[in-house]
Amino acid sequence: MSLHAGLCLNDQLLSISLYDDQAARFVFHERMAAWPGHLAAALKQPKYRALRQATCTLTLANASCPLTLIDIPQAEDDEQTRNLILFHGQELLQLTDKDLSLDFTRLPDKAWRGQRQQGFVVAEQRLRLEQLWFDSHGMGLNLQQIECVELSLGRLGLSQQNSQQQALLIELKNRLLLLLYYQQQLCLVRHIDFQFAGQKSLANQFQLDNLTLQLQRSFDFYEHHMALGQISHLALLTTEPFSERNLEHLMAELPQRTQTINLDPILSPDPEPVLDQFTLASMGAALRGVST
């Protein structure tokens, strides 16, 4: 049996999803008060013991420095690159805390017509990471990765699509998260303030027009400035059927081929999870283990 656990952590809450490779679905989703006390106690119960057999990916909902697009300095290797980013942190990321650990991704070489090397950086206090590692180790968890929610959430959309250029629009609490990919590499992240006028009613036309405009601008930036081609697919990940109706209405305005992501086949049936951003993030984190 091959198990992959995803844990999403913020200050108040820990969301856990456990994926079973053999069953090709999640076997449970759980929610508990923040790390690590409740989890340590829960791990003594039979239901949770499987977590100790899983490879774990932890995703941080509130990293000190959230995922940020920057120019990546030229260096001999990744370690030197990290050091250079830290050294220039004040200027590049406006970091005030000096004792940070960070990691980065790179945009495709093709981006910016090869004239700029950019990538995403995420950073967290070293002390917090050490504490997370020691807590995990102490509880017998096999923690392999720590990442950030944008990358975790994106994995839920990528697992169902194969096109070269694609967009993923995810409904979060009071906002939307737009992720643009080139060959499954994250190239653009935008948080769009958007709140439907009540989940049970259609958003008004002005709101929808405004959102359409913001999406179209993002696609234009990707196509013309980053020079990565035309976004052909747009996938929607929503948490409530009522807002899905709103979004479907909205997508009729855009030329991209649009589809909603159906997670039902991989969700744990018993108990059915509360599908909010924390559960989704923990699911995406677990899928990192599946793809590697």
Binding site: K98, S101, P108, E130, W133, G138, Q184
Partner: protein
């Protein structure tokens, strides 16, 4: 192409590759003494690029060290009049752990001593270049601003620089 992040290995980005091949604790515990000496010896493998699995091994051994420290603490507590506090102990073990995990490449630590009541700390070892020592001192100082950090000694012996670093609670 690098398209995922993992913050865990970056814990080691600035850390020297070290391999705890020998771990010994000499407790100078006696009825008349309220201090003990922690002696760590290990061999460094500077040429070897350490990976994440190595960190797991290191941490496991560090935890064993912490357990031994705990047992030592129990002995001291059994001694009448010993003022050791749980908070001091927790802070001390955290400091020890951090200093081991976060020291820059090029620094080799040969010995760590704890002073009386976990109020003083001493590190000894070798460094390739003095800048690496200052860098480490700055990191530790940022991490533990309540301590006063001082490079007590730095001497060239042959091809290497031998250092002594100390930290103590600010008055």
């Amino acid at each position: 192409m690098k398209h995922d992040v993992n913050l865990l290995p970056s814990l080691r980005a600035l850390a020297v590759p070290f391999n705890l091949t020998q771990l010994s604790i000499l407790a100078a515990a006696s009825l008349g003494m309220a201090a003990f000496l922690v002696l760590l010896g290990w061999q460094t493998q500077q040429q070897q690029q350490h990976n994440w699995q190595q960190l797991q091994q290191d941490v496991h051994q560090l935890q064993q060290l912490q357990q031994r420290l705990l047992s030592q603490q129990g002995q001291y507590r059994s001694h009448p009049g010993h003022p050791s506090q749980a908070d001091d102990f927790a802070a001390a073990t955290q400091l020890l752990t951090h200093s081991l995990l976060a020291h820059p490449s090029g620094v080799r630590i040969s010995q760590i001593d704890t002073g009386q009541h976990f109020q003083q700390w001493h590190w000894q070892g070798q460094v390739e270049r003095s800048e690496q020592l200052w860098q480490w001192q700055q990191q530790l100082s940022a991490h533990q601003p309540r301590l006063h950090w001082l490079v007590a000694d730095l001497q060239r012996q042959g091809d290497s620089l031998h250092f002594q670093l100390q930290a103590e609670m600010k008055p």
